[in-house]
Subunit: 319 residues, 2 copies
Amino acid sequence: MRAAAAHYGIPAPQWLDLSTGINPQGYPVGPVPAGAWQRLPEDEDGLEAAARAYYGAESLLPVAGSQAAIQALPRLRGKRARVGVLEPSYNEHARAWRAAGHEVVELTEDELAGAAATLDVLVLVNPNNPTAVYLDPETLLDWHRMLAARGGWLVVDEAFMDTTPEQSLAGYTPREGLFVLRSLGKFFGLAGARVGFVLAPDGWLRRIAELLGPWSVPGPARWVAQQALEDRAWQTQTRRRLQEAGRRLETLLRDAGLPPAGGTPLFQWCRTERAQVIQDALARQGILVRRFDRPASLRFGLPGSEAEWQRLETGLQQA
Amino acid sequence: MRAAAAHYGIPAPQWLDLSTGINPQGYPVGPVPAGAWQRLPEDEDGLEAAARAYYGAESLLPVAGSQAAIQALPRLRGKRARVGVLEPSYNEHARAWRAAGHEVVELTEDELAGAAATLDVLVLVNPNNPTAVYLDPETLLDWHRMLAARGGWLVVDEAFMDTTPEQSLAGYTPREGLFVLRSLGKFFGLAGARVGFVLAPDGWLRRIAELLGPWSVPGPARWVAQQALEDRAWQTQTRRRLQEAGRRLETLLRDAGLPPAGGTPLFQWCRTERAQVIQDALARQGILVRRFDRPASLRFGLPGSEAEWQRLETGLQQA
């Protein structure tokens, strides 16, 4: 955002930032109790219990955003592994596995099914970011079985799964060789809080905790996350609201001549050879969207207020 | 705390917790702007500038508490190193260096001066926790020169340095082979926020940042830390208040027959063969203090309210 602001000469507060998939009407955070700032955070303060109930998973570990888990897992896989990632996808996974010295194999969607037999680790984002491809649990569990039979891992990053909990693998954990990553950044709109969870067998959670060290999630972030995970009324309402907003964004883009190739309630993905031209034209109007080059495409997050919806509609007409 | 509460059958909220060296009247945190929770944190949002001014150090990196740096540094020291630590001291340092496969040599205070010539890395806490030994900057800079001349490191954890900034090595950074760790946990009383800084040459900061990954300090924690580091009036008042409180605690302990062997404004350290008996007697009254076995000793943090001071005084009379 700061780079865009400088490049286009538009001050940061004036931008409509649609470059992320973060819920623009995130969980309303109340006043944090003073003790959460002052005291060292403690495990099992209620956060883990709230997360077990929300995810329907017994064995989990809070981490400082799923990024913390993304960086930890490659370091826990001892021998140089052959690691498959879908391309395009959220690129922090491939970066972390490469940085830890592993071999990363980029796979197309069609190659995924055959790859599980030859890989040590398969890392997927489900639904995928930015293509919005959903892989169903049965398929993933098949691949997990093939991988686990040879000591392999299936890592599934479910950052955008909260609007479709029935598609999650959370309820199938813990299983040896299965790592599910969840985050409060997108659906709950708490990206700044840096809270995520690893769902995996206890032995692996202990190793991750050891690597990350004590007090890795701050007290105020733990407090806010617990509130959000326990607020079923807000979750139900938000799930419905986001589904409506996602449909509205899909329609808006279609009407603007950019029919999405895929979408989740939190973002839409449009393939277009004009990606760079459209991104630039929107940016001149202070609207920031995310561009991908392989394939040429744009990802649109949700506007928040009605004024923002209008601004995007007008912006696309002039792009 | 939770363990003590269970063992002594006293509910956690009823304890007077003097087991840490955290300022009991920490920085008063106002309402966090909603954007800090919602958006991904960005570097150079004002926090780094505030820290540069506060520490008088040009080259620094915010980290999720000094613990993050304690765990990162041993991983960046490639070859197996011979690492000297003072004993007793804050034991997370030795633990992290051992966990990363290095050889840890425990040194007495008298052995420190001779050790710099034979070590790859010397790790010190200044003032030391729990002994409250202060090492003067000239001595440390001498040792740093000896270490750096052979590619060695001096790591100085200044977690308790904020009341005596004139003794800090911050102003001598950056120097190759010198790593100074600071934290907002103790003086600012923001242990739950998990914000610290590494003061070191830029090249090393980049390597630490790469290891820790993006967004390692949450947005709300960054915001609070910036407020605290910029609030000179609060800092001046707090420095004075803590010095008075430290003297009061020293006197109180002396009058109770426990003359401190060392102290900082934030804690007092008492050597006594009766450490275990006194700790237990205090705990039965719901007062938690930290015990060390080598040598047998107790560390007392500061009471906060006048009622807490009275409770400690009475508690010691009955111990």
